[in-house]
Symmetry: C2
C-alpha cells in the first residue's frame, strides 16, 4: 500500500500520475476485498466503480463540488479517498463506518442513502440551492443502470434535464442491476453501448441532456478526459460510462449476481465463511411457489429487482419461466401490475422486503386496496432489526394496517404460513399481505385452512387475569412470557391474533369477563401499529393494556439484544411490567 495509506482527503490524489492513480486503484480494490471478506458487504458495485471514483475526485473538488451517490452500494472507494480508509485497512476500525454514505461521517457525504433511485432528485435540490444562493460549484449524481428503472429516478432525470444549470448525471452502466436488468430502458442502454454512444435514438438526449459516452469506464485516463470536458458546464449533462461489475476479482466478475453483496468470505477461494443451515423461509417459499406454478399456470411470481433476497435463484427463476416476472427496481409498478394480474384472473405473488414496500404506499392504497383485487404480497424482513438505518423492517405494520381493505396476516409458524399462503392464493375477496417471519418455528397445533373470517383471533391457551396477544414472529415470545408468568402463579390466556389489519371485537369483549390485563406483543414500532388498535378498543373500559414493541425511531446498526432490552422485549422485562401494574 504505497498510495492509499498516504491519502487523507481528495486533494492528496491530485498530484498523482495516471500510472500512480492506477496503482492506487489496485490498492483500493485490495482494501474493498479486505473489508468485505472480513465483515461482509457490497462487493461487485464497489469493485466496478473504483476508477470512476478516482477520476471524480481527481477532476472535481469535493466537498465544494458535491457528489451524490445513488443507493450508495458503491461508496467504498469514495470513503477511502475521503478520510475513512482505516475502516477498510484495519479490522478493528471496520464497524466504525456504515456501508452507505453518511453525512455524520464526513463532509464529503451529503445524505444517508440506502434505497435506490434517489440521487438525481437529491442532486437537483443541491443544484437549485446553489443557483439561488449564487454559488458556482458542480453537482454530480452517480447512478447505476439498475437504479434507473425506479420511478423516483425517472422523475428526477426528467426534472434534471430542464434544470437549465449545472448538473452532471453519471450513469454507471455495468449491465446489471442487483440481478439482471429488466425494462425497456436497457434496450436503449445496450444500443448506446453498441454504437459507442453514437445512436441517434438516445433517451437522454431526448429529454434534453448533453450526452457523453465513456466506452471503458474502468479506464482512468478516459474518464478524466471526459469529466474535464463536462466540468463546470452550465446546463444538464449526462455521462454514460460502461464499467465491469466486480472488476478485478474473478469470482465477482464471473457471478455478478451472487457477488453483488456477500457475507464474509475467503478471498483466495471465494468461499463464504458463514454457512447458514436449517430451514429458512426463502427456501420454503420458493419451493412452495415452484410447486404451485407447476400445478396452476395462473400463479405469477413477481420480484422488483431483488430475487436473490427471496431465494429466487437463477435456477428457480428459470424453472418458473413465464410465471416469473422481474420488473426491475420498480416497486410501484410491481404493486399495480399485481393488482391488475389479479383483476385479470391470475394469482400474483409479489415478494418484497418490508423496507422497500414503503415505496408503494399509494399503489397499495389506490391501485390495490380501493380496487380490492385479490393479489398476494409477501413481506420479508418485517421485524425489529440490527440493519442499517435505511433498511429497517419495523415500519410495515403501520404502513399496511391503516389502509382499508388490505388484509395482513402474520403467521407464527411454518405450518400456519403455508396454510395462509394456500388460502391467500385461492380466495377472491381481498388483497392479502403475509408478513413472512424471520425465524422458522413449527407448531403442533391444528392449523386453520380458512382465513376468510377476517380479523378472527385464535385462542391458543385459555387462562385468566392476563391475556397475551402475541403477533406473528413474536408469538414465541408470548409463549415465553406465558411460561414465565406461570412461575408467578398466573396462567394467562395466550392468543394468536393472526391479522394485523383489524381487531376481533368478540374475542376482546369476552376477555373483559375474567381478565384485568391485556398485553400486546408486536415485532415493529408501536406507533400506528397493531397493539394501539386493541388499546383503543379498551379505552372506555377498565381493562389495563400494555403494548410491547419498538419505539418510533431510526436506529442504525444497533444489535438486536440492545434493542430488545431498551424496548422491554425480554420475557423477564415483560413479566416485570405486567406484575408492576397492580402494585
Amino acid at each position: 500500500m504505497s498510495y492509499l495509506e498516504k491519502i487523507n482527503c481528495p486533494k492528496d490524489i491530485k498530484h498523482l500520475s495516471i500510472a500512480q492513480l492506477e496503482a492506487l486503484a489496485s490498492e483500493i480494490r485490495e482494501a474493498i476485498l479486505k473489508r468485505d471478506s472480513t465483515i461482509g458487504g457490497h462487493v461487485g458495485p464497489n469493485l466496478g466503480i473504483v476508477e470512476a471514483t478516482i477520476a471524480l475526485h481527481y477532476t472535481f473538488n469535493s466537498p465544494q463540488d458535491k457528489i451524490v451517490f445513488d443507493v450508495s452500494h458503491q461508496c467504498y472507494p469514495h470513503k477511502m479517498l475521503t478520510g475513512r480508509k482505516q475502516a477498510f485497512l484495519n479490522e478493528e476500525d471496520m464497524q466504525k463506518i456504515s456501508g452507505y454514505t453518511n453525512q455524520d461521517e464526513s463532509e464529503h457525504d451529503f445524505f444517508k442513502v440506502g434505497h435506490t433511485s434517489t440521487s438525481v432528485s437529491l442532486a437537483c435540490g443541491l443544484a437549485k440551492a446553489r443557483d439561488l444562493k449564487g454559488e458556482s460549484h458542480n453537482v454530480i449524481a452517480l447512478i447505476g443502470d439498475g437504479s434507473l428503472s425506479g420511478g423516483e429516478a425517472l422523475e428526477g432525470i426528467s426534472n434534471a434535464a430542464v434544470l437549465n444549470s449545472n448538473i452532471i448525471v453519471i450513469v454507471n452502466d455495468n449491465e446489471m442491476s442487483i440481478a439482471e436488468n429488466h425494462g425497456g430502458i436497457y434496450n436503449n442502454l445496450r444500443l448506446l453501448r453498441e454504437t459507442n454512444g453514437q445512436a441517434e435514438c438516445n433517451m437522454f438526449k431526448a429529454l434534453g441532456f448533453e450526452y457523453h459516452y465513456v466506452k471503458d469506464g474502468n479506464d482512468i485516463a478516459e474518464l478524466i478526459e471526459t469529466l474535464n470536458k463536462v466540468k463546470d458546464t452550465q446546463h444538464p449533462v449526462l455521462v454514460h460510462i460502461h464499467t465491469l461489475k466486480g472488476k478485478g476479482y474473478k469470482y465477482a466478475e464471473e457471478n455478478q449476481e451472487k457477488w453483488h453483496w456477500n457475507v464474509p468470505f475467503d478471498i483466495e477461494s471465494g468461499k463464504e465463511k458463514i454457512q447458514f443451515s436449517g430451514e429458512n423461509y426463502n427456501d420454503i417459499t420458493a419451493e412452495y411457489l415452484l410447486n404451485k406454478v407447476s400445478q396452476d399456470n395462473k400463479v405469477v411470481v413477481i420480484s422488483a429487482g431483488t430475487p436473490g433476497a427471496f431465494g429466487l435463484t437463477p435456477e428457480r427463476r428459470e424453472k418458473l419461466g413465464q410465471n416469473y416476472v422481474d420488473v426491475g427496481i420498480a416497486e410501484e409498478h410491481a404493486v399495480a401490475f399485481s393488482s391488475a394480474l389479479a383483476k385479470g384472473g391470475c394469482k400474483p405473488v409479489f415478494m418484497v422486503w418490508s423496507s422497500f414496500l414503503q415505496r408503494t404506499y399509494d399503489q397499495l392504497s389506490q391501485d390495490l386496496a380501493i380496487n380490492n383485487n385479490p393479489a398476494v404480497i409477501l413481506t420479508y424482513a418485517g421485524a425489529i432489526s440490527s440493519m442499517d438505518v435505511t433498511h429497517l423492517g419495523c415500519f410495515d405494520i403501520p404502513l399496511v394496517s391503516n389502509i382499508p381493505n388490505l388484509v395482513q396476516l402474520a403467521p407464527t409458524a411454518k405450518e400456519e404460513y403455508v396454510a395462509m399462503l394456500d388460502w391467500a392464493l385461492e380466495q377472491k375477496e381481498h388483497p392479502v399481505i403475509i408478513r413472512v417471519p424471520t425465524t422458522v418455528f413449527h407448531t403442533q397445533e391444528k392449523v386453520e385452512t380458512d382465513y376468510s373470517r377476517v380479523n378472527s383471533y385464535k385462542t391458543v391457551q385459555e387462562g385468566k387475569d392476563v391475556a397475551i396477544i402475541a403477533l406473528g414472529s413474536f408469538f414465541n415470545l408470548g409463549r415465553q412470557v406465558s411460561n414465565e408468568l406461570e412461575k408467578h402463579n398466573i396462567r394467562p390466556t395466550l392468543i394468536n391474533p393472526r391479522y394485523t389489519t383489524g381487531i376481533d371485537k368478540d374475542a376482546l369483549n369476552s376477555l373483559k369477563k375474567s381478565h384485568q390485563i391485556v398485553v400486546t406483543l408486536e415485532d415493529g414500532i408501536l406507533d400506528g401499529g397493531f397493539g394501539e388498535k386493541i388499546t383503543r378498543f379498551y379505552g372506555d373500559s377498565s381493562m389495563k393494556v400494555l403494548n410491547f414493541g419498538a419505539a418510533k425511531e431510526f436506529v442504525d446498526r444497533c444489535p438486536l439484544e440492545e434493542l430488545y432490552a431498551k424496548y422491554h422485549l425480554t420475557p423477564r422485562q415483560i413479566v416485570e411490567d405486567i406484575l408492576a401494574i397492580n402494585k
Copy 2:
C-alpha cells in the same frame, strides 16, 4: 341528439359513418358541458378526448378488448358510449355515476382510478394475465402527457416496452398537464410533434415501442386509420396523438388550466355559478409565500403539477419567478428535491394535497426524515371529506405521524398557522409538515411563535373530570363539545395539542390528577392516528379514553353530515358518549 340517445353500448357506433361519428362527437361535447355546467367536473380533458374515445370504441371491442384510463379525468365520453349517457343528459341522473372509471358501474371499466400515472402498469397486468390464460384480446392504456411525468408511469412504460406481447399505449398529448407541463419528457414530445413523429431521437422507440404519431388526435378518420394498423399487434405499440384540451368550447380552449376542472358554470358566458367568498387558506398561504420570497431569496415554493389547487395562479407563479418550481406530476421527486434544497441551505415549501402525499411515503422516510433536513411541506385537504374515493384526505395523519423525525403541526386558526409557518421556515432542526385546515377560524388567544419544544400541548381552558384534546381543524369541534358539556355541569379542560407526531407526556400525566376521562378529536381515520397514541399512553392507568375520528374505510362521495353522524362526530353525540361512560 339524434345519435347519442340511441347508443347503449359500443357496438351501437360501429355501423356509423365518419360523418355520423363526427355528429356524435358534437353531441358528446354538448353532454359533457351539460353535466359539468350543472354539477361541476373535469371539462378540458373530456372535451379533448371525445374523438379518440369514439375511435377506440369503433376500432376495438370493449370489454373483451380492455381500455385502461389513466387518472380517468377523461372518461366521460367513454361512460356515455358504455351505457351511462343518462348521467350526462338528465340532471336527476348525474349524481348516480362518479367522475372516474368505476368497475361497479360498468363491465367496460376495470379499475377505480383517480391518481395519475397508473394506467400503463395496470394494463401490463391485464396483458400478462391474458397471455398466461391464453386469451387474445387487445389491452390499451390511455395516458395523458401530464401523467407521463409520474414515476409509476415511467416504471410502467419501461416494463410495457419489454412485454413481448400485445399492449397499446396511447399518449394523449394535449401539451398540458393540469397546468403547463414541466420536465425533459416534454422536450421530446415537442420534438415529435414538430417532426410529425419522424424525429429519430424518440424516447418511446428508445425503450422498444413500435411508435405511431397521429397529427390531429381530434380527427376521427385519422385516429381510426392508425388504430386499425396497431390493433392485434403482438408487440408493444405506442400511439402518440396530438389533441386539443378543451376542444369545442372556447373558454376551455382559451384558458386550459382554469378549465381543467370547474365548478358548475353558465355555458353561454363561462361564468361560475358558485362564488366562493371570504378568507381561504389558498390566498392566505400564497400571499404569505409571495411576501416571504420578496424578503428572502432562499425560500422556494414547490408544486407537483397542481399549483391551482393552492391558489398559485399563473400571475402569482410569475411573481415567484425563480423561487417557484413546478416539478410536474412527480411527487416523489418533489419531496427528495425539497430535502436536498434544505440540505443546501434553502427554505423549500412543498405544497401538496393530502391524498397525493401518499405517493411519497418512502421519500418522506428515506430522503427526508432519515436525513432530518428542515424542509417544509404544506398538506391541503387533509380532512374527512365527501370526495371521490380516490381523493380522500383522511389518511395523512397515520401516514406522517408514524415516521420518525418528522414533525407534523396541526394549526387551529389563521394566526396560529402563520406563526407555525414562520417558525417552520426559519428553524433548522426538523422536517416540518403543516396540515393546512380547510376552514379559516380566528383566535383571540396569544399564539406562540416558537414551536421548537416539539410535542408540547397547549391548554386553552383549565377544567376537571373531562379533558378534550382537539386536534387542528377539529379544535373548534372541541370547543363546541366543551360548551355542550358545561350544560351538564362539567367544565372540561380543553387542549390544543398542535403536534400529531408525538405526545406530551407531562401534560398527559398531569391530567391524571383531576380527570377521569380524556377525549381525543381528529379530522381523519382513527387507526394509526393521533388519538391512539394518547390511548396507549394511558393503557396502564385508570384513565378512560375516547377517540373520535373516522373509521378506516374507503367512502365514496358520501355527504360530510352523513359521515359525521356515522362516526359520532357531532357535539351532541360526543357528549352523549362521554356521559355514557360513567353510567
